[in-house]
């Protein structure tokens, strides 16, 4: 995982993970919307040990630009070994229930764009015969809940898509890792009341790097979300539909 593309590099989880990569001396290509924030993060990662950091400004919605993006990253880093796809928004559920346009946009930002980038990267890594695509999905994608089913449905698409891609690329030596964080204390969730289930971006980042190194398929992070979601996934509908989750 020496040459790494990070999509959504200004997100708290991506930045924390990039610090772990930097400490290992990796070369990084950071993609985000905000050039000032990208360059602040790039300066920091260089001091943290990254052997090279390049940045590119891009809106994740621009699906047609992904082939060009991957070419640029590969050209700057002299090839590509790993990609971390971490961009996304936390959907305002109430607003998305009331607006088809917002629903459409949320699916573009939280599902379609991840799948587009996975497609480009998957084909490239398949051709080169190695590589790892790590995609941040969410425990919210494991089962639709009334409090955030628009976001959850987009993440469910990402989870299903990466599962299929993993099967397809496994014989080719390419790893696809589906990452399912639970509650993470980031600016995205700053106004939420925090309980004991909340993790820091740094804690989540360490588990992501370990999972990449171990060529894992699915990562619930922190680990305790695996038994929690196992239970939630298996609750019978007769009961589940009465819950306020």
């Amino acid at each position: 995982m020496r040459r790494i593309l990070i999509m959504g590099a200004t997100s708290a989880i991506a930045e924390a993970t990039a610090r772990e990569f930097a400490a290992l001396g990796a070369a990084l290509f950071l993609v985000g919307r905000d050039s000032a924030r990208l360059s602040a993060i790039a300066d920091d990662l260089r001091l943290r040990g990254a052997s090279q950091v390049d940045t590119q400004v891009m809106d994740a919605r621009a699906l047609d630009d992904y082939p060009q993006l991957v070419d640029a990253a590969s050209a700057r880093l002299g090839g590509l070994d790993t990609a971390l796809i971490a961009h996304g928004t936390l959907t305002d559920q109430a607003a998305a229930q009331a607006s088809i346009a917002l629903l459409d946009d949320e699916f573009r930002v939280n599902a379609l764009s991840q799948m587009a980038l996975c497609t480009v990267l998957g084909n490239r890594f398949e051709a080169q015969g190695h590589g790892c695509i790590a995609v941040i999905s969410s425990v919210a994608g494991d089962r639709g809940r009334q409090s955030n089913y628009v976001y959850g449905a987009a993440k469910a698409a990402v989870t299903a898509f990466t599962s299929g891609l993993r099967q397809r690329l496994h014989p080719k030596g390419v790893v696809v890792l589906t990452i399912k964080p639970g509650f993470v204390d980031t600016p995205m969730t700053a106004t939420f009341r925090k309980g004991p289930l909340w993790a820091t971006p740094a804690q989540v980042a360490r588990t992501i790097v370990r999972a990449i190194q171990q060529r894992r398929a699915v990562l619930y992070t922190p680990w305790f979300w695996w038994p929690i979601m196992l239970i939630i996934r298996h609750l019978p509908e007769a009961l589940f539909r009465r819950l306020r989750l």
Binding site: T10, A12, D34, A36, R37, A40, I41, D43, D44, L47, R48, D185, T186, P187, A190, T191, K194, G195, P196, W198, T200
Partner: protein
């Protein structure tokens, strides 16, 4: 995940948080805000009940570091631990460090913190080259000893009230490596402490003493004096000390574990342990500067009611008499703590308008919160400090009266002109008698 916003964990209102994730971000539109770094201030100077706390811990990016000059530029949420991690391998160390490395640079500036080398290095502000201050009207002030100098001086020790510090540049000090070398010496009285301080300060960069606050009668004023210098690069101590295992207090005991019995036992054992008397010994920087960082969340030891810390500075002239009186009252009360620290401050004038450090001697100790009894004792200590012409440290305080504060810091009104109209803290409202958040 976050519990109390302040280290003393005294009961208080549930805080409202807003995160600042980028130094390129504008301040939110709120009527009452207070920057919050890592919550290591003990009392209410890092609380803003009724308003919001701007959680700036995510402003934790390095900006630039020059291993040739030891000048480092960081975002204000970077902690000293992170500066040490980056700079020490290149032979640089913070020029001034308080007793924990889990403090942010913004917090170090806002409280103009001091360390065991105050007699030589002054306080944190003396090593600050410049910083950037964001005001709620969107103005960005670049402050240094030559540019916006009045804002520079108001913000150093300015308790976070002058605006949000976004980035800062400071000069680190050259060191040989992670080790310190010096002596640990028992002393039997305050007179001996002052004599040891006077004879050690010319030769040692760091001096500090631990006092046995439960000792009474002829033992009153006894303690252990530490003095040390950074050791040259060729020196290395035992590996297990360098490894620095960290423990964590995993829960809050239902009652304070600090009581008359445990205090007396701990203090007596600590004073008599063999390591208390050792010459030419080596310390790794972690146990030397940050002994309490080895036990994460040690502040929970005081139970769910939390604790007060009292830190005062007394002018040198009457310091011995006043300290003796303070120790007598503390010992008689049976309140008090494991870690009582005594240290002489140097003559260097602090940079900040509202800085705490001033020539004299400073005493710091914790008191478990036992309600009225604790407050009465602290008020009694305050009267002694006031009469002596001393001052109490705002970063540690949760209870001093407005009258006391205004006498300790007569320049407070001059300072008030620099407060951002949308910034406030529970501390500031308390000590200025203002009621609205």
């Amino acid at each position: 995940m976050r519990g109390s916003p302040s280290w003393g964990r005294l009961p208080g209102a549930e805080p409202q948080w807003l995160a600042i994730g980028s130094r390129h971000q504008a301040l939110p539109e709120r009527a009452s805000m207070l920057p919050w770094g890592n919550g290591r201030s003990y009392g209410d100077s890092c609380r803003n009940d009724g308003g919001v706390l701007l959680a700036a811990g995510a402003l934790d990016r390095y900006i630039a570091f020059d291993p040739a000059t030891g000048i480092i530029e960081v975002e204000a949420g970077v902690q000293l631990a992170a500066i040490i991690a980056l700079a020490l391998p290149h032979g640089w160390f913070p020029a001034v460090t308080p007793g924990t490395r889990w403090v942010t640079v913004g917090g170090c500036i806002a409280n103009d913190v001091h360390g065991k080398n105050h007699h030589r290095a002054g306080s944190f502000g003396h090593h600050l080259l410049d910083f950037e201050l964001l005001r709620s009207d969107g103005t960005v002030l670049h402050c240094s000893p030559t540019e916006h100098r009045d804002w520079f001086d108001a913000t150093i020790g300015g308790l976070g009230l002058t605006g949000l510090i976004r980035r800062a540049r400071m000069q680190l000090q050259r060191v040989g490596g992670p080790w310190l070398r010096g002596d640990s010496l028992r002393f039997g009285s305050l007179a001996e402490f002052f004599a040891l301080s006077a004879c050690s300060e010319p030769d040692y960069a760091y001096t500090v003493a631990w006092l046995d606050c439960s000792a009474s009668g002829r033992h009153r004023g006894r303690g252990i004096f530490l003095r040390a210098n950074h050791a040259p690069a060729t020196v290395a101590g035992p590996q297990q000390e360098a490894a620095g295992r960290a423990l964590r207090l995993p829960f809050t005991p239902p009652l304070s574990a600090v009581n008359r019995l445990s205090l007396r036992a701990f203090n007596t054992l600590y004073f008599h342990r063999p390591a208390a008397q050792a010459r030419e010994r080596l310390w790794h920087y972690r146990p030397f500067f940050y002994p309490l960082d080895a036990i994460a969340d040690w502040n929970r030891l005081y139970g769910p009611r939390g604790f007060y810390q009292y830190q005062c500075v007394l002018p040198a002239a009457d310091a011995e008499t006043v300290l003796d009186e303070m120790l007598a009252r503390i010992a008689a009360s049976g309140l008090g703590s494991f870690l009582v620290v005594l240290k002489t401050f140097g003559a260097q004038r602090s940079r900040g308008l509202l800085s705490f450090a001033r020539p004299g001697v400073t005493l710091a100790l914790d008191f478990p919160n036992r309600g009225a009894a604790t407050l009465a004792l602290l008020d009694a200590l305050d009267r002694l400090t006031l009469d002596a012409g001393g001052a109490v440290y705002p970063a540690k305080d949760a209870r001093m009266s407005a009258a006391a504060f205004q006498q300790y810091f007569p320049q407070w009104q001059a300072f008030a002109r620099y407060i951002d109209p949308k910034f406030s803290s529970s501390f500031w409202r308390r000590v200025t008698g203002s009621t609205t958040a």
